[in-house]
Symmetry: D2
Subunit: 381 residues, 4 copies
């Protein structure tokens, strides 16, 4: 019988956006329970956050090192099963490495690390540890994204010829980092974000979504990055040409200065037999087009879906699922996998993003920055 | 400091739709924990369901009576705080009554009871018990519904003149109750559903939404009900004229034989200064129209919202929240209220549907059936 | 070989909305040419309007009587072929009668006459004259409306069970008739509009659309009319229950005080096999729903259409056609019929609304007013 | 008083798509009358087409040379006022040149000529002739495009930072040119289309729309063209990065192999104060986003429009105008200008695309092809 997994969290103290998202997402399906955390940079703040979350004070730690060591020392049926890392990018690698090396599974926010070198190092560490590692490219958890991927995989769209992807936000249209806004401050700071700004924060989601849905690798890109916010060192906008390994071509546009856009991740994929279109702001709708039939619109748990899409719908058709539910699917599939490992089942690996996706994302960031430095010259990923 | 509330559940065993929804909704905000349940009609099934949910076998009960009595006997810091009732309609009243009389708060699915008499009896029981009672008219938990209500309350739409409401589903287009489908079977059975079919299942949601958003009572209705499914005794369709207490007029259309409709609850409200339009299948959008300004679209956590709407958004604009999140808001506000009571705070009552909404819903069902019997004659609610 | 028809117009002088619409609609397909008119109530104004339209002064008449007589006296290859009547309602019958009795075909705006008696008289006159009579229920000219009708007629939706129709405008939300606005003034005046206000102006369009698409007659209605504008005698709002001849039920909602609505005519039709939905503000899209297949969206000249829909599309898919094009289709089919008559072809009657639709519309208005007078009692049409 | 202009047409015989569009567009506003044409490559076909259009046989010519010479010889009050050129691209320049040199105004379809050299030569000819020349970049005739341009011009969007434009069709997804389809055959043939395929047919519309709305020139592009149809020499797909003269960046994506897309021209423009979004398939809606206000949707003749948008709406809000109406606006403004010239009025030049737009479009095509040849290197327009 599967048991409820115990989660320890690194980051995500009071005022954090993404920490709260991870906690809610982990809670929805009743498979995971938060038991401990190193939520903040000081022990006092961490304890305050943990208590507000209903944790026992004894399991609110001042540092992730402390948490990993002390949890390791607890009895097996008490200690955390895995660590969820929800810190800014520069603090992804250290706790991930230590957790894996101490025998804990890991869920990490993206991009996987600060640098490509760290990502590649982490890939080796994961391999050596034999532990599971999930990366929260949450949008791949959407039912309609699963349907899209399944349709392409089954050949229903034919051979893919053209792709358009976008991830458009407007929240950095103004110099928000010069206010008290903590979310903005670290995202525009190379020390905490790495060499990519919007590239790392949202670009990797778009890159991952393209490759996830099409099952094809992006081979090379030509990237023209923008730094529109006064004084910004990192990109806050990017326009790219892409070429896929099979000869398909396309564009990718990302931005955090697309004023008025909220969280407009979208993709269009055109094949020789059919096409599809999906937007995460309206996630319960997959638009498909066909050579001879009228446009068809799929919905979660609606008519005509593949099993892959049905598997992740929690509620009947017409009951919209959103961002948290898709995020929760990453946790759910990860938890299912952890339990399968515990139970010694040689199961098929459930579908969630892994360290390989993380390395791929870092390569994408590096290729984009290199291309931009060379005036948008074609650059292999 | 608020503490996590302990929930006991009546109904919601394996295969239940709404039980699972209640559990997920209660879990999202981390304020509530399922500790016990009488999930099914036999002890064996109940225990199996409870264990699958990670409960201790000792707290999986064979009957709600057993659960209420045994939990009452547990130490105060262990026993459940409240009972969530997720059974078919005929099994709402008995556990609600018993729970309240044993000092437990109650969350109940709608319609509140099988009959109007029960509803009125329950209203008295709630009053006498001094306990809290929440009814899960979940759609009022949507951020955009809160915004709509706030806009009307602040007079931004002027005086309301016209209303159109609809709740359209198509899942009973075929005689599903003649298959193994459990959801269909009890809904078309007067013994388990009461005198209303679609009226009780979805009509009360529409009625509640109209009164919630406009702050006005429906004064009288003229209802023409349909029973399209072969052999159906209860309505599976209804078309109604409505007159509001302030002189506004409108229509309400409900159906479970509107083939192809998934869960299309929607409302349009027209005033002397502005108008609004909202659909639960696309819940992250509130459409408003104005005498001299262009159409404006509000989004959760987006620009220009009232505090009432901001208060229930969990994630930044553009990150869609759906059915479960709105449902969770009912639980969250209920839990907040329970904790306030525990802490002796004379707080304002948080906003969630109560027994009064339940009685109102039953009166609506009775008025509709009476009107229909009289060939759609005007009937006071 | 078909020849260009010569049109004479009654009404439609400077400042008229609908006269201009008729002229543009008649021009689009190059089958009709405006040659004369009695555009206004005085000869001076009429001549000024005619000259501005490029007409010869000699064919700008001061009264319709003058026009009909003088044109009749012209050589056959010069005189007008038909009269287009675009006056307020009270001025439909007199010129229609005289034109028919003088051997001219007629195109008339709706509602067909001021009173039901006139409509029935006109029906006899048309029959006796042997001339053609078209009524501009323009929305039935839309490609997607033709597709909808064809789908129902071919049984693709199965048996019709439920209908929702609406025609919502907001332009009379304020007392516009108390300003200089000519359009408003006559529409709220029983002497010029007849016994129906919104009923005649837009309600008949909704009624006609229901019967056109479903091929079913509305058997009886229960109408609750509103007169929200201060001092208004005629309805400016209406909510109705409808029962179709085959047992289908539904609602119809019309309004000219639905603030912010522009011209929102829409219909939903639910059958036992499929359903459809269409809105004239977004006319290039027909939404259909199915028992087991996903939602399908048809577009003009797009994939999967019936011949009836293809026949009225002028341009390739994706090139939107709008209000004028649908209006033009009425003229086009009328002109085709007139030419067929001239050429002695015993052709199938092309598809356009006729005097029978006009009589039907008047009966609808009368039934609605009677029902409303009896507190929304069921009233046969 | 303005008089009706007389139009002669080159091309547009039976079976032509665009010829029929020009005729309908020219007819809508009643300002233009077709009087003659050289519709086809043989005199017989030309006469047959002309007679079917209701022309006098004497004015149906076998060649454009014949038409221009013979019309020139007619009395001034009989001869055509201007020539409309609706042939494939390679036949734009010769009749345009001859018409201008014989004193006729010209309306031409786009792209303006076969080659850039011809375009530049034509620009000189137009200048020397003193005649008017209109290019049918029809989409700029849409009311909402006018509104968009006006909003940018008045600074309401602030400084423009980012642009996304697309023009997506799918009709050449299959090798249609190998069938009898005449539309496809010439478009994939360099002899008749020039060096651009999709670039010339639809790319120039996108380029023109960007520059029209933003009032900014595209400075350089990096173009990656596709030739997906087997054996195609010309591009049938293109992905481009663009840089505007003011430092704004963006993407442009065009395609005729985007399977299932009908005629999806769209644009998004992001500024420092506001943003806008428009699609020609849904032309009656302009979506705008703002720093602090909710999204606002403008509609033709709706609330809050600038005069530039109001000027081109023919019918009240909510009555959709489409492709033909926007096309007609080009003709209307051209006709207004011609009449102003006739009347000796030193009027402001009405707003329609001219030879300068034509030269600009050819430069765009040439830059795109050059960039593509150089592996998408940045190329100045």
């Amino acid at each position: 019988m599967s048991r409820k997994l115990r989660m320890g969290m690194v980051g995500g103290g009071a005022g954090s956006f993404i920490g709260d998202v991870h906690r809610k997402a982990a809670a929805i399906d009743g498979m995971i329970e938060l038991v401990c955390g190193a939520f903040s940079s000081t022990a006092e703040k961490s304890i305050a956050s943990g208590i507000a979350l209903g944790l026992d004070e004894s399991r609110c730690y001042g540092t992730f090192e402390d948490m990993i060591e002390k949890e390791k020392a607890l009895p097996e049926d008490v200690r955390m099963d895995f660590v969820a890392i929800v810190t800014p990018n520069h603090m992804h690698f250290p706790p991930a490495k230590m957790a894996l090396e101490h025998g804990f599974h890991v869920v990490s926010d993206k991009p996987v690390t600060l640098t490509l070198e760290e990502a590649e190092a982490l890939e080796k560490i994961v391999g050596k540890s034999g532990k599971l590692f999930a990366l929260t490219h949450n949008y791949t958890g959407n039912s309609m994204v699963k349907q899209a991927r399944a349709m392409v995989a089954k050949g229903e769209l034919g051979s893919i010829r053209k792709i358009q992807a976008q991830y458009l936000q407007g929240w950095l249209s103004t110099p928000l980092e010069k206010t008290e806004q903590k979310q903005a401050a670290w995202r525009v700071d190379p020390k905490r974000s790495g060499i990519g700004g919007a590239l790392g924060d949202i670009g990797t989601h778009a890159e991952n979504l393209i490759e996830y849905i099409t099952g094809l690798k992006i081979e090379e890109i030509a990237a023209d990055l923008g730094r529109f916010g006064e004084g910004r060192i990192l990109d806050d906008d990017g326009n790219m040409l892409i070429r896929m390994e099979n000869g398909a071509k396309g564009t990718m546009s990302i931005s955090q200065i697309a004023l008025g856009e909220e969280n407009n991740l979208g993709i269009k994929v055109y094949g020789t037999k059919g096409s599809l279109e999906w937007y995460q702001e309206n996630p319960n709708e997959l638009i498909t087009r066909w050579l001879e039939a009228p446009k068809k619109i799929y919905t979660p748990n609606g008519n005509g879906l593949h099993d892959e899409a049905l598997a992740v719908s929690r509620i009947p058709a017409g009951h919209p699922e959103g961002y948290l539910e898709a995020f929760a699917t990453i946790y759910k599939n990860f938890a299912t996998h952890v339990n399968a490992v515990y139970e010694g089942k040689s199961s098929d690996t459930p579908d969630y993003p892994t360290i390989a996706d993380g390395v791929r994302g870092m390569k994408f960031i590096y290729a984009a920055v290199k291309s931009d430095t060379n005036n948008a010259a074609w650059t292999k990923i």
